[in-house]
């Protein structure tokens, strides 16, 4: 049985349904991420798990016990807030001691527990400092130590790295992964940053407009997005839509406007005549100056209309004669110069049937 079960939870604010019948089951020891754009309901859902907000329908169960109506202080769940919310009038030690004192921990046990928690977040020796004497990253660690010191069953993290700069964020990501492994506590992490979600999580729930679109491992979310929204939100994706004109020998052919027939490996029975959308990651597209060898499954000519040089890779936007846009991504390292093509170059794009897959609208 799952450790934390969110069953059919709904939350409305007036006419607006922030969370719309969400059901998610999170396993013990899992690093689980709620990912979605702002306003998708992920933070509202997290606040309901923490107890700061009550669902209008459905229930939240921890280890089989109904938590729904319990106040935050009576839940074995701790939150790391986006703003850290460190108590400014207390030292680092005072902040970390706070939940222990609230739990009536015998005072002789407190110093050892503080020391252990600070060691977990690599802040040994910072105990006597005040929050205003710490950097953003250090404050973040204190907030995590404070939340973990009582060994909660679940740790909720609400965009905890959003306020840090890119370099520090990456460092903290690695530390969070290690910390979670070390303490073995279930982490429920909220973020709008898809790369962060992919890097950190065991599983991701992608949310949109109050609903969960897909729950899966990062590689499945990225490689096999189920819906148009997920494909588009996670990384870059070419989305080609059109009517199905054939389904033969395990290959479905879709007639895409401005491109022509696009062939995709059939993953389910799709009858001809229906409309379908094909998702195709830019890095799966071959882009060459001369026509590819043999007869590839999909092959289209075009011109480089725009490019984004990003150092390690370059994103090429190729326009076909029919007016369709194809986005392709190439690592620059093999080029032997800065990049392969320039704007205006005529190029040949191709990909095998296995590269694309169908997504729901």
């Amino acid at each position: 049985m799952a450790l934390l079960e969110i069953r059919n939870v709904t939350r409305r604010f007036g006419d607006f349904t922030a969370v719309d019948g969400v059901s998610v089951a999170i396993e013990a020891g899992e690093f689980f991420t709620l990912l979605g754009p702002s306003g998708c309901g992920k933070t509202t859902l997290l606040r309901m798990v923490a107890g700061f907000d009550l669902p209008d329908g459905g229930g939240i169960f921890l280890d089989g016990t109904d938590l729904t109506d319990r106040p935050p202080e009576a839940r074995p769940v701790r939150t790391v807030f986006q703003s850290y919310a460190l108590f400014p009038h207390m030292t680092v030690e005072g902040n970390v001691a706070f939940p222990l004192e609230m739990a009536k921990t015998p005072s002789r046990e407190i110093p050892a527990k503080i020391a252990a928690a600070l060691e977990d977040v690599r802040l040994t020796g910072f105990g006597k400092r005040y929050p205003h004497e710490l950097s953003g990253g250090q404050k973040q660690r204190v907030a995590i130590a404070r939340a973990l010191v009582t060994h909660p069953t679940v740790l909720l993290l609400d965009e905890p790295l959003a306020a840090l700069d890119a370099k520090l964020r990456e460092e903290m990501q690695i530390e969070l992964i290690n910390l979670q492994k070390e303490v073995g506590i279930t982490f429920v992490y909220v973020t709008h940053d898809q790369t962060e979600a992919l890097a950190l999580s065991h599983r991701i729930a992608v949310m949109n407009k109050g609903k969960v679109e897909q729950v899966d491992e990062p590689s499945r979310i990225y490689g096999f997005p189920r819906s148009r929204f997920v494909a588009d939100f996670i990384g870059h994706c070419n989305l080609f839509s059109g009517p199905v004109i054939a389904n033969e020998g395990g290959v479905v052919t879709v007639d895409v406007k401005g491109l022509g027939p696009v062939r995709v490996a059939a993953t389910s029975a799709i009858a001809p005549g229906r409309s379908a959308t094909v998702a195709l990651r830019p890095e799966k597209i071959r882009i060459e100056a001369v026509a590819p060898d043999g007869t590839p499954d999909n092959h289209y000519r075009g011109t480089v209309a725009e490019l984004l040089y990003m150092g390690d890779v370059t994103v090429y936007r190729v326009h076909t004669a029919g007016g369709q846009r194809i986005e392709a991504l190439l690592a620059n390292s093999a080029a032997g110069r800065a990049k392969f093509f320039e704007v205006g170059d005529a190029v040949e794009t191709s990909w095998p049937v296995a590269a694309g897959h169908f997504v729901e609208e």
Binding site: F52, E73, F81, F98, P99, R146, T150
Partner: protein
């Protein structure tokens, strides 16, 4: 350098007027008072000549000796401090929930509620004290109600007016806004996330108040306490109008020395002692306040 000189003139232009104001209306009068406290009272009030007939400079410690040797003055002083402390405490107890309520109310109502707090300032101070005379008078509903209840349990009627009760109730009434405003200014800035965090970490309602809200509001408490305590210590109009013979405070004593007894040197001594004790108490409060905020001891005290 012309730029430097211009800057210097600019600075004098800004700080000059308030400095002049302070020198002429505060520093010089204080010095005159300090000097007067060492002089001899004149035969018909005021001051005796600074240089007497024999050409000797007439400066002495007589008035100070009188203050420190006659215990009646120390007693009045102590009583004044107790009245001011009780006033400060009562103001704090009433103002804190009020300020918290205003700080938590929806933004659009806050200005209106603050306006209601300072509304009494729009009518004259003395008129408001006389209003209390009517409210507390023997024929008013309040006195009749209280004495009616007392009669039920077999106790004799008590006068509400011309009593310490009347003085204290009016002291609290007059000074309440001075406590509400700094408390509100402080509480309004509190970060809601801190209370959420405390609750998340297991703190109940009272623990959230005593461990988070109250310690963080201490600067507002100290500011309000100073704004109430210092004027309450020197007040004379309220005990004059609403108090009984037992309610003579240091302010009344000073007023008597200057206007009735016409002993200016002794009045000066009383004023100086009042100023110094107010300064000392304010300094003490500031020191305690600084110690409480920003040193590890704050946690120990908060926990105790």
């Amino acid at each position: 350098m012309p730029a430097g000189r211009e800057g210097r003139w600019g600075r004098w232009f800004v700080i000059g007027p308030p400095l002049l104001y302070l020198v002429v209306l505060f520093a010089i009068p204080t010095l005159i008072m300090v000097l007067a406290s060492f002089r001899t009272p004149g035969e018909f009030g005021g001051l005796a000549p600074l240089v007497d007939e024999s050409g000797k400079l007439d400066l002495n410690l007589d008035s100070y000796i009188r203050f420190f040797t006659e215990s009646v003055y120390a007693a009045v002083f102590l009583k004044s401090i107790i009245y001011a402390l009780v006033t400060t405490l009562l103001c704090l107890l009433i103002a804190y929930p009020l300020a918290a309520l205003i700080a938590q109310s929806p933004k659009k109502y806050r200005d209106l509620l603050l306006l209601l707090v300072i509304l009494p300032f729009w009518s004259n101070f003395l008129i408001r004290i006389y209003a209390w005379m009517i409210l507390l008078g023997p024929q008013a509903a309040l006195a009749r109600g209280v004495n009616g209840l007392l009669a039920l349990v077999g106790l004799g009627p008590v006068p509400l007016l011309f009593s310490s009760f009347a003085v204290l109730i009016c002291l609290v009434y007059v000074h309440l806004p001075f406590m509400v405003l700094p408390l509100y200014a402080n509480l309004e800035k509190h970060d809601r996330a801190l209370l959420d965090a405390a609750q998340d970490l297991g703190a109940g309602t009272w623990q959230r108040f005593w461990r988070i809200t109250f310690p963080l509001s201490l600067p507002g408490v100290y500011a309000g306490a100073a704004l109430v305590f210092i004027p309450a210590l020197g007040i004379f109009a309220i005990p004059d109008i609403l108090g009984g013979p037992e309610d003579t405070l240091i302010g009344n004593l000073i007023k008597q020395q200057f206007l009735e007894t016409r002993d200016w040197p002794f009045g000066s001594v009383l004023s100086i002692v009042l100023t110094l004790s107010a300064l000392a108490l304010a300094g003490l409060a500031a020191w305690v306040g600084r110690r409480n905020l920003g040193t590890p001891s704050s946690r120990e005290e908060a926990r105790a």
